[in-house]
Symmetry: D2
Subunit: 346 residues, 4 copies
């Protein structure tokens, strides 16, 4: 029996970036692989291959016209971390073609970075280290005038998706109480997950550490407005992990510069950030150049998950490791900028 | 019935520093309190008070001659974080006078900082933040050339005391495997605690992240010699939490400067550190000015534990929150520099 | 704006059985509810109501012909614990009608019972209690000749679905090592869940306690054959939780009667079991009359989950608490006896 | 250098019962072992050996007169599970002779049994199994008329010592809230351990499952009087694990027989219990013949802990696995019947 055909066209990612050596071997074991090169597959070649393919593993879509002829197709796996913007989700649903995202592969590395940034801000690690370079460090109590411990603090989560679920167990041993705001999730579900459902204002007002992990959508542009940011407790820590899109970045910079609260951010309105952007001079801020989701070994989790689910699909079983595009949300995904963490131009 | 007498002379700590308002009220509730001021109690006054006292809560000892007349004395509580150097432990043991240290009050805040420093080093948080200030930050993969995730890494602990036990639950959700070296503890005990007993060399050679938490003693001066430090894996992270005493600091600085491994340290051979010390220029190092054990709210755990155990002693029950001086180790404590974290001159 | 319509026809379950008072109020709050009675809804009335309904909550299906006219239908929720056998899954998939099962509501209560049965067998609780009634109890060591502790034992799971995932955290504090056999799941997924993938024989041969939790299917009739059961370790404990269907019950009875291993079972080939069935006389066996999934308060989790997901569907969001029928498995569900635990005739 | 001498006289326990083969070898490795036989060591021989011994490992004491001449003695290890009644604790304290108990070796096996008994009572496992033998079993809902799930229940602990600390992690995954009553422990300590301090009445009135784990003392004879037992919630479960001494057993039997609450007990006022004791006929009760602390492999934890701490003592380090006799409590131990779990005549 011949193996099922899988087209692997990860551009703008590269093969090495997402597949470890052993997973690459496994990939070829599971299916008959087409392309599997770092440069983008030419469109006509792609369209041709699609006619026989059972699975497409891709870094960009843009080929709805080819969908109709893809009669064997059972799954489209997007390796960027987002769902394709321009996909014909209705057709996929009607034909039971799975649309899958590798977003879960970023959960652990981004969550780990989120905790690291929170501790760096709360305990003054980055600012303390800079003082040492300047020769102005202060020891013991003198260096601890505005620090606090994470233990037992009220914590807020804005957006409770895969990233939040990866972060939650890292926070558990600190005995924190977590309030979560997510308009796409019901209260019962949030309670079942061990967090308290809360309104956005409540999260901002009651938390000592706030993690912003909401995927960007048309509705949430600058959702964290100047007015809302003003509700944050004095001296609290705001950790921005998903996208600058969801926050009024200028307001956030102003308030951080004024010492109202501390900011730790991994994302910026433009990347690279303008050389004269005032946040570069905010002493208390912790600045990270979109580093949370790009650790080398972490990216290999993409390949591991892709292989696990490719194997499941080939065996006629449901994929369980990647994220399924929910039909209810597909239109929302599609009509907006893609969800966070790792769109290629970013 | 009159309340038992407790002398409270916390100098060089202050009352406010260690007692929250509510614990201060509780203190006065439990016992009849003598002194309780920030300045040091005059020796003659102290000697007199000791004759009636059941408990002494103190920041420095140095009064063995007064011990004989302290006929009611049942416990000496040292609030520095160390055990008194010059105490007559034999007399205390023979008379069943408890000698107690507040060291456990530092466990959580130092452990939290230890994790923060490890993540800062492994994920490049401090160096990344400094790049931003210089305008040379690199985004995404380009900024992640030598970072790694803590998840699943082999971790080493040098010294497995109260601090290690506070750190261990914070590491658990990362799924790490922990090897511990502690010459004062048996293999069976370490296994019972959920870590693998290992030799010092094995810990250095096999770990991706190493936490140094050994209390200083006469035997362990520069125990982490140049030769031993050379066994550390390329690119590993060494987190120094207890005392510079246990490491050849010059060798550590050389090796870190040469890029052999990454160092994150909260302690230094002299504090303040010399302005021209070369570790100030090691780009990869994470430098923290003995900040791990002095968070304001964290210090109030001292007062909470002191009140809890004072109450137990007054009720004729064993104290359970502070650390007991073990008779077997008392001589070792006494003949050496005090254990880590918070001796007053430090 | 009028509320969406939901038909609630839980027969053979009753309204009270699955909805607590507060969830019943919530149900009426979320949607305009049709029927909601304990007796079965007449077919013609049902067919009529279906034309307007957005959601159907039902205890039996059997109405495919009505599906075509159900133009508003977005979800079918089966409250028995199984997926409907005779549903036209292809049509549902093509029209993006969710098919949902309340199976997850049974996870906790069945898992708890599974642990209770395992401890009863391993520690001799039921047999010890019976001895007391006969006046033949033996104390201390004499009563512990063939008991063992669960701590640190190798544990096997046959079937790793929702039930296994509910059981796993209950086993974690015992420090057990879990091997799982499940032909519908990939090795990578199982490892990701914290268990070791293993073949059926390996599970049987290496485990001291074996939990059978496999859903019945055409392929797994008597999968635990006499030959396979013979591979179980002497003195091990076999806990049968899903269905008698998956085991050669006569062989299991013989082996248990011969003292080869201990059996604890909640399910039987016929219920009630024949009065003269030999397992009734097996001294070591723990016998439970299908009690694992019918605790009164536990059944209210059905109503809670139904309300949570009804609310999500009405708001245009994906349901997250109930189990989705996976398109890949729908045919397998449909062509077989329903999955375990709670089909109505059982 | 000659090895230190340890006298090992475990009677009424036997060598095999407490030492696994490998720990027996280890024992001989650590020290020069005297006696190490199952029969009781003759007193004169014992007195002679004591003069040279550094450690005594014993199943009965009764030799205070010999203590004065035991000039090398550093530790007395009692292997019964209790502390010796008649020991001269003052002399031991003054001479820094450790008095150690193997009680912690029983924690896990008794805790496991405690959970098993609680589940058996709450879920009706023993009564359900007996019905099967009589041919009167009732299936599904009919068999679940008075059962309840442990998940989320308020749980009470009477006595919060080593046994409670072993039980607590087993209860954690059930999401229970624990109230603990222990007059020997402070509120701060209990809170630090993750339980809520509470009065005895509050524990009885608010808990759905109550674990009695208090060590017997002169003060707590029949502490659970008829009046107090009457405060227990209807249908709650009372698990008696430590000693019948602490409860009015007749009152408990009456109330259980009247169906006021369910009892699961591992201990009885006399053992064997009188053949006509009415508790034998209480249908709902779970009766266990002092089986909780005598599992064969479990008893080897005694030998493991003894070896671990013997090794520590020989190396001049504090023993960390066995329980130290606290000077404050020694008189209380000594003036009463020994603490629970495993005195030899029991």
């Amino acid at each position: 029996m011949s193996k099922p055909i899988a087209v692997v066209d990860p551009f703008p990612r590269t093969m090495d970036e997402i597949f470890s050596e052993s997973d690459l071997a496994r990939l070829h074991d599971i299916a008959s692989i087409v392309w599997a090169r770092d440069d983008a597959m030419p469109e006509n070649e792609f369209a041709l291959a699609l006619q026989e393919a059972e699975v497409v593993i891709t870094g960009r879509w843009g080929r709805n016209e080819a969908l109709t002829d893809a009669s064997q197709l059972r799954a489209i796996i997007d390796v960027t971390g987002a769902f394709p913007l321009d996909l014909d989700y209705e057709q996929c649903a009607a034909r039971s073609i799975r649309v899958l995202s590798v977003a879960p592969a970023f959960g652990r590395q981004v969550a780990e970075m989120g905790l690291g940034l929170a501790l760096a801000a709360a305990r003054g690690i980055t600012v303390g280290d800079r003082r040492f370079r300047e020769g102005t460090e202060e020891y013991l109590h003198a260096g601890n005038t505005d620090t606090f411990m994470l233990y037992g603090q009220p914590v807020g989560m804005i957006g409770y998706g895969g990233l939040a679920m990866a972060l939650q167990p890292l926070l558990t041993p600190f005995g924190v109480r977590i309030r979560a705001y997510d308009p796409w999730l019901g209260d019962g579900y949030l309670r079942h997950c061990g967090v308290e459902p809360a309104g956005l204002e409540e999260v901002l007002e009651t938390s000592r550490v706030i993690f912003v992990m909401a995927a960007p959508s048309r509705e949430n542009v600058a959702m964290l407005s100047r007015e809302r940011l003003s509700k944050i407790q004095p001296g609290a820590v705001l950790v921005l992990l998903s996208r600058a899109h969801v926050v009024d970045f200028d307001a956030m910079t102003d308030l951080a510069a004024a010492g109202r609260f501390k900011v730790a951010t991994d994302v910026f309105p433009t990347e690279p950030l303008a050389a004269d952007h005032p946040i570069r001079d905010v002493d208390d801020a912790v600045l990270s150049a979109h580093l949370a989701g790009s650790v080398r070994e972490g990216l290999w989790e993409i390949g591991e998950m892709v292989c696990d689910d490719l194997e499941a699909i080939v065996r006629g079983l449901p994929p369980l490791r990647l994220q399924n595009a929910e039909p209810e949300l597909a239109r929302r995904y599609a009509s907006n900028r893609p969800p966070p963490l790792d769109d290629p131009d970013h």
